[in-house]
Symmetry: C2
Subunit: 368 residues, 2 copies
């Protein structure tokens, strides 16, 4: 879909021209990917007055089989040294008569910025800021289709795990098995490191799997996701291992479930990011678990697993239709464990059926 990428670049160029910059240098890999369909390591994208140019180290002919190549813009390969000055010199030759170059100050290093400034002392360097990230917020049909497939792969891998024997296996092995299953079902790889937490580790966000083995009576929290055509999705569930959950487990689960539902139900075009967070957070705070909630209760997903927007108390901005986000409140009680429930949904208006749930694995409290 080369015309999609060209259209995205045209939109970015218009944005920058309106802000007074006649050339743009994009360095953040996910942003390059969004604008060209590929992002070779350490490459930069230049949108000049005349033409667009991808400057990359290494020879495209030596790329792995199937590595995406941009088919609608010129690629300049740096055969020799791939230092800052070389990139700057090559790039600036392409921007030609530009007078102001917008760069991603939140990504570009000081060293590279200096190299650009020294190669072209008369070119004004301005800040592109998060213009590409803003453009990436609202997804098109193709992007949402990729996220749907990624979600389906996550559901499949998780479903298979639930049918296997869990007691006695380590967090680390369960995580590796889930990642293998993601690939079996067509993922390019995991969208992020799979988190498996049992017993006292359950309910933690981003828990790094350990050698702790699953025991009867444990809470077990699993958070995983697939990457499909570059798009990343996320699902998290908490289970009880053994036949009957304890009362405290049922109570905590119901609470987190209620919080997560409140967050999901708050997703509608025009709502403030922080109001979605508050909807989920206040359920937990009212029950005395405010301290254990963490700094955010959801975030955008797409080419990166943790994109804009952030659903957090101080986040500024409003949700649009077609923005995919996670809703993932959780509570962790030190020493005891906890619960996290995490879905990926696409914001849609009520007329359009309301939020579209991509991750459909049941949220009943299953005893495995």
């Amino acid at each position: 879909m080369p015309e999609v990428h060209a259209a995205r670049r045209t939109r970015l160029r218009s944005h920058c021209e309106a802000a007074g910059s006649d050339a743009v240098l994009v360095s953040r890999p996910a942003n390059i990917s969004y604008l060209t369909g590929c992002a070779p390591p350490r490459s930069v994208l230049l949108l000049g007055a005349g033409e667009d140019l991808l400057v990359r180290p290494g020879d495209p002919a030596q790329d792995p089989a199937g590595a995406p190549q941009p088919d609608d813009l010129r690629v300049h390969s740096l055969g020799g040294p791939d230092g800052d000055a070389a990139v700057a010199a090559t790039g600036l030759a392409a921007v030609g008569a530009a007078t102001a170059l917008a760069v991603e100050e939140h990504h570009l290093t000081v060293a590279r910025h200096r190299a650009l400034a020294s190669v072209a002392p008369r070119l004004a360097l301005t800040d592109l800021a998060r213009a590409v990230e803003q453009q990436r917020l609202v997804k098109d049909d193709e992007e949402i289709a990729c996220l749907r497939i990624a979600a389906e792969i996550g559901d499949q891998a998780l479903g298979e795990l639930l049918e296997s024997i869990l007691v006695g296996r380590t967090e680390r092995h369960l995580a590796l098995e889930l990642e293998r299953r993601l690939v079996d079902h067509g993922a390019e790889g995991p969208a992020f490191p799979t988190a498996v937490g049992t017993g006292p580790h359950a309910g933690r966000a981003g828990h790094v799997p350990t050698d702790r083995r699953v025991e009867e009576g444990d809470f077990l929290t699993v958070c995983l996701g697939a990457r499909y055509r570059g798009y990343r999705c996320e699902i998290g569930r908490t289970f009880v291992v053994g036949t009957a959950p304890d009362d405290w487990q049922i109570e905590l689960y119901d609470l987190v479930f209620a919080a997560q539902r409140a967050g999901r139900e708050a997703l509608t075009p025009g709502v403030e990011y922080r109001d979605v967070d508050r909807a989920a957070r206040q359920v937990l705070t009212a029950a005395g678990h405010g301290d254990g909630v963490g700094p955010f209760t959801g975030h955008g997903v797409g080419l990166e697993i943790d994109e804009d927007p952030r659903l957090a108390p101080a986040s500024m901005g409003k949700l649009d239709a077609r923005v995919p986000v996670t809703v993932e409140p959780g509570v962790h009680l030190p020493g005891r464990g906890g619960v996290r429930i995490d879905d990926t949904l696409v914001v849609r208006s009520q007329a359009d059926g309301g939020p579209e749930l991509l991750t459909i694995t049941t949220k009943e409290l299953l005893a495995l």
Copy 2:
């Protein structure tokens, strides 16, 4: 080993003071790890005139079980927003009366640099450059012991793979299985994405595994490594699948083997980086394969898989004793495949026994 980290910080502080900076801000994660024993995501380390401070977002009590914590310096956790200004303000309160702050311009973003400058307009920001990377070049006994174990784990995982049936399995599955075996044998995880290339993909550096299945008569190149206590090691081997290799396969293998041996034999304290590269490269160039060799034939390993030094034609500098490097020449013939052989060795003087080979899997051409 907290005193090790404190000693490393003292050495860095002396280096900076000699260069005129009385405070240092380290932002590159591997560098923070080297200087403190841990590197929470998005943290920065400040070495002030008075004290050292690790500024990190999030609560250490919520860290994964077993996550390393620095036990010999103060940690300031940012509970609220973890933006550039907050880090800068907190950090600068710690550096107190400093007049010049050295920062890692090759890592720090322009936005963060600006935030620092605006919070303390009278503080001169200087460039630390790659001072910590330079300090990391020569490894101590503890670091080399970790690399030895990482290498042993890689050898074990590779050895087991060689005993299994390969024909009909995909590159992707072989790579996943190798990564599982690394963890089985005690690795924290793979040191880098495992490369498995068969048939026409064999011999490529950093090949991303595909769904191609192993066939009789293929070259099969595997490159993998374990991460152990943060340290990363690398081994690469090429095999023939089936009973008898073709003549062209034997010839190409012998050539790459001779190049790799020449590189290994060139490793001695005081030798120029580029002379090691040339020793390996000229064997391949003399045989008419100069174009397919790639930009470097080896690199340092340690807390990162691709550290200084780089063994390449234009690299400036000399090897010291106790520097671990890879020697990994390869040739890839488009459409036909190729050979790579990759070892990790520690440079040692002849009096000390010569280069220490960490990755001991055989380099005979095995037919699997």
